[in-house]
């Protein structure tokens, strides 16, 4: 397929039940896998923001944005390339406390990877790291040989370099 690339999709919606179902259905119908998804509140009261990542062509993403915006409770949807956004993912590692005591290599990894310990007890400790997907992946590989007990990564969150005029839009629509 021509020129598939990763797009970050930002969707501002009313905070209402069922909207997740409608949005995911749009991707499902077109057989497009959502690589990651994050839903949170936004800078505007009672408005939610979806951030999701898909690998598609530009033509596809344009059409999908049109279908998303058609949903009654969607205020506005945007798509962006990596260059247009500042983005982060976050992850947690659970590792045995033993490994921390046994060698100081882990300590070095923690320091150089800019991750931090957010919880520790006699059995395990939890390491948190925010960064790009690549940074997180790199850390994963370094820690892998020390035995990762659990690993979890969040969806991408992203802030666009361009302005998104949701507040003005909301005023206009009213």
């Amino acid at each position: 397929m021509e020129n598939r690339q990763t797009y970050t999709v930002s969707i501002y919606t009313e905070n209402k039940l069922g909207i997740l179902n409608r949005i995911s259905g749009i991707f499902l119908r077109r057989h497009i896998n959502i690589e990651s998804m994050n839903i949170s509140k936004s800078e505007i009261k009672s408005v939610s923001r979806f951030t999701l990542l898909v690998k598609v062509t530009e033509e596809q993403i344009k059409k999908i944005i049109g279908q998303i915006e058609k949903q009654v409770e969607v205020i506005k949807a945007y798509y962006h390339t990596d260059e247009d956004t500042i983005y982060q993912e976050s992850c947690l590692f659970k590792l045995s406390s033993q490994s921390l005591i046994a060698n100081d290599e882990i300590q070095t990894i923690i320091n150089s990877s800019k991750s931090r310990i957010i919880n520790i007890n006699k059995d395990f400790f939890v390491l948190e790291k925010s960064g790009t997907k690549e940074e997180i992946e790199e850390l994963y590989h370094t820690l892998d040989k020390h035995g990762i007990m659990q690993f979890v990564r969040s969806g991408r969150i992203a802030i666009t370099k361009d302005e998104m005029k949701i507040s003005t839009l909301l005023l206009e629509n009213n």
Binding site: E14, K63, G66, I75, L170
Partner: protein, 577 residues
């Protein structure tokens, strides 16, 4: 038994009523002017039905024989009247039976409000008796849906539902109401909805785009219009006519655009698409400007997109921004309600006669007439054709009837040959192609427009998919004229089997019952025609009848619909035989 207590709201004329959720549902319907509705009761919606009993003098609730019939009847009502259709069902199986009609309404942009009962809110998610996640099920096929669990939500949600269903590009909305919310008492107050914060019914019109479009039209030598239901939904028939007449642009229609422009209009050049007319299909690939008005370039219209009007510039008049560039790339997209945009463009376009270009359509028409229509309409063989039945209906109705067709060969014959003088007169399932649509839809159309003649045309297959609605006719006395064109086959599928599957007629032959006896069993006057000499008089007898009437016409078993664009072919490769 009265539960009404009235409390005065602070001095204003509005009164707060302390009523149940169920009564509020009925009040909301009355506020929205929905006094003719279709449905089927059951446990989870009984409180609402109990209120409907109380309000019998104000709301006519029609008991269909199946919930699918209720949605199709509501669709027929909506399509014939231009108002919002309403269908009601109970939870679980009642709700799921609505789905086909909802999906049909969604793809054909028909405004519907569907109301379903739901199990009590404390049982939600527990697999309770007759619990179905109807909000989940209907999400992909509704414009909007909502589950009400508190009576106090009812007025706002109903107001919003009606507004969303009918505004912008219309569509179906579903409201699911838990049983406890129907019983709950609250202070009712109703206010109509005029806007929803996150929803923009109509895009802003850009005058620059209107100007750009006008310039393209003025410089075009061979422009052609394809119009769809947008003209009807936007009530823009007059604006459309003025527009095409000023610039003398040949105008072809999609199956849902049919009747927006009178058949006899000299700029009406016929139907586009798979079984459309020869001239507009062939000339789609010769025009220098294709102007799409309120249509969405369905694949049944365009055939192979890579060979569709590639030589032409494209202008797309459309209310739904998501339709722009979806299938065909537009050089100029004129967003907005066509009633407005066509009025805006009128003063900007030049008068033009375009005689030579219009003649090209006329020449190709002659070819189609000689090769196809003549034998369809005036057959030299003994067997009756579907087209000649349509011809007789045209004669008897004078083109003033509402024609409701089902899905199959007869549908294509009906759309190709029925004549229309008035708008909103062609009612058919276009986008979904739902067999079983016509009988209930014709009931809705007739009840919505009692002064108009409503003629339903179905095949022996589709007629039997909702034949139980004869019971609704028996009970309501809706004077629908039912025409079944019986070829003892699922004709359209058989045609494909003949053309593309080496005549292997897998499961398309039908052994049919005595249709006349069945109609008579429902106290409907009925007649069967097998010979040509009886056709005209029988059609006339049917049309003269003041009551419902059933006419079975035994037509040739293996007739085909031509012209035809085989799937995947280009529109200009349309076959005449």
């Amino acid at each position: 038994m009265t539960t009404k207590t009235q409390t005065q709201s602070n001095g204003a004329s509005k009164q707060k009523l302390h009523i149940s959720g169920a009564e509020a549902v009925v009040k909301c319907l009355l506020e929205e002017g929905a006094d003719l509705i279709y449905g089927y009761p059951g446990g989870a919606i009984m409180p609402v039905y109990d209120e409907l009993y109380k309000y019998e003098d104000k709301i006519n609730h029609v008991l269909t024989r199946h919930e699918q019939g209720a949605t199709h009847a509501a669709q027929g009502f909506a399509r014939a009247t231009g108002k919002v259709g309403v269908a009601i069902a109970t939870s679980g199986p009642g709700a799921t039976n609505l789905i086909t009609g909802i999906a049909d309404a969604q793809i054909d942009s028909t405004p519907l409000v569907c109301i379903t009962g739901q199990v009590a809110s404390h049982l939600l998610g527990s697999d309770a008796f007759q619990e179905t996640d109807i909000v989940g099920i209907s999400t992909p096929v509704t414009k909007w849906n909502y589950q009400i669990t508190k009576a106090s939500e009812i007025p706002e949600i109903f107001a919003k539902a009606f507004y969303i269903a009918k505004s912008g590009r219309p569509g179906p909305v579903l409201i699911d109401i838990t049983k406890d919310a129907q019983f709950e008492m609250f202070d009712f107050e109703y206010e109509k909805c005029t806007s929803v914060r996150s929803y923009k019914a109509k895009p802003d019109v850009s005058l620059d785009k209107v100007k750009e479009a006008a310039e393209l039209i003025n410089s075009a030598k061979k422009p052609m219009i394809v119009f769809g239901q947008g003209v009807i939904l936007g009530q823009a028939e007059e604006e459309f006519k003025a527009f095409i007449e000023k610039a003398n642009i040949p105008s072809a229609w999609t199956i849902l655009g049919l009747s927006a422009l009178p058949t006899a209009h000299e700029l009406n050049v016929g139907m586009v698409g798979m079984h459309g007319n020869y001239a507009p299909n062939v000339l789609t690939n010769q025009c220098d400007l294709l102007i799409a008005v309120g249509m969405r370039f369905d694949d049944r219209v365009t055939g192979d997109l890579n060979r569709y009007a590639k030589q032409a510039k494209v202008i797309h008049f459309e209310i739904d921004p998501a339709e722009i560039d979806k299938n065909v790339k537009a050089d100029v997209a004129v967003l907005g309600d066509v009633k407005q945009t066509l009025a805006d463009i009128l003063p900007l376009i030049n008068k033009n006669s375009r005689e030579a270009w219009l003649n090209e359509f006329a020449e190709l028409d002659k070819i189609e007439y000689e090769k196809v229509q003549k034998e369809d309409l005036y057959p030299t063989k003994d067997g009756l054709t579907m087209a000649e039945v349509l011809k007789e209906i045209n004669i008897a109705s004078g083109g003033d009837a509402i024609i409701v067709s089902d899905v199959g060969q007869h549908q294509m014959f009906a759309c190709r040959y029925a004549k229309f003088n008035k708008t909103k007169s062609n009612i058919t399932s276009g986008g979904l192609g739902t067999m079983g649509f016509a009988l209930p839809a014709s009931i809705g159309a007739k009840m919505g427009m009692p002064d108009r003649e409503v003629v339903m045309i179905a095949g022996d297959g589709g007629y039997q998919m909702n034949i139980q609605e004869l019971g609704t006719i028996l009970q309501t006395k809706a004077a629908v004229k039912i025409v079944v064109l019986n070829n003892e086959f699922l004709g359209m599928v058989r045609q494909w089997q003949q053309l593309f599957f080496d005549r292997r007629y897998a499961s398309t032959e039908m052994t049919n019952p005595d249709f006349v006896a069945i109609a008579k069993g429902y106290s409907i006057d009925a007649k069967k025609v097998t010979k040509r000499e009886d056709l005209a008089s029988s059609v006339k007898e049917m049309m003269d009848s003041k009551d419902a009437y059933f006419l079975e016409v035994c037509v040739e078993k293996e007739n085909n619909v031509f012209p035809m664009i085989p799937t995947g072919a280009s529109v200009s490769d349309i076959r005449l035989e």
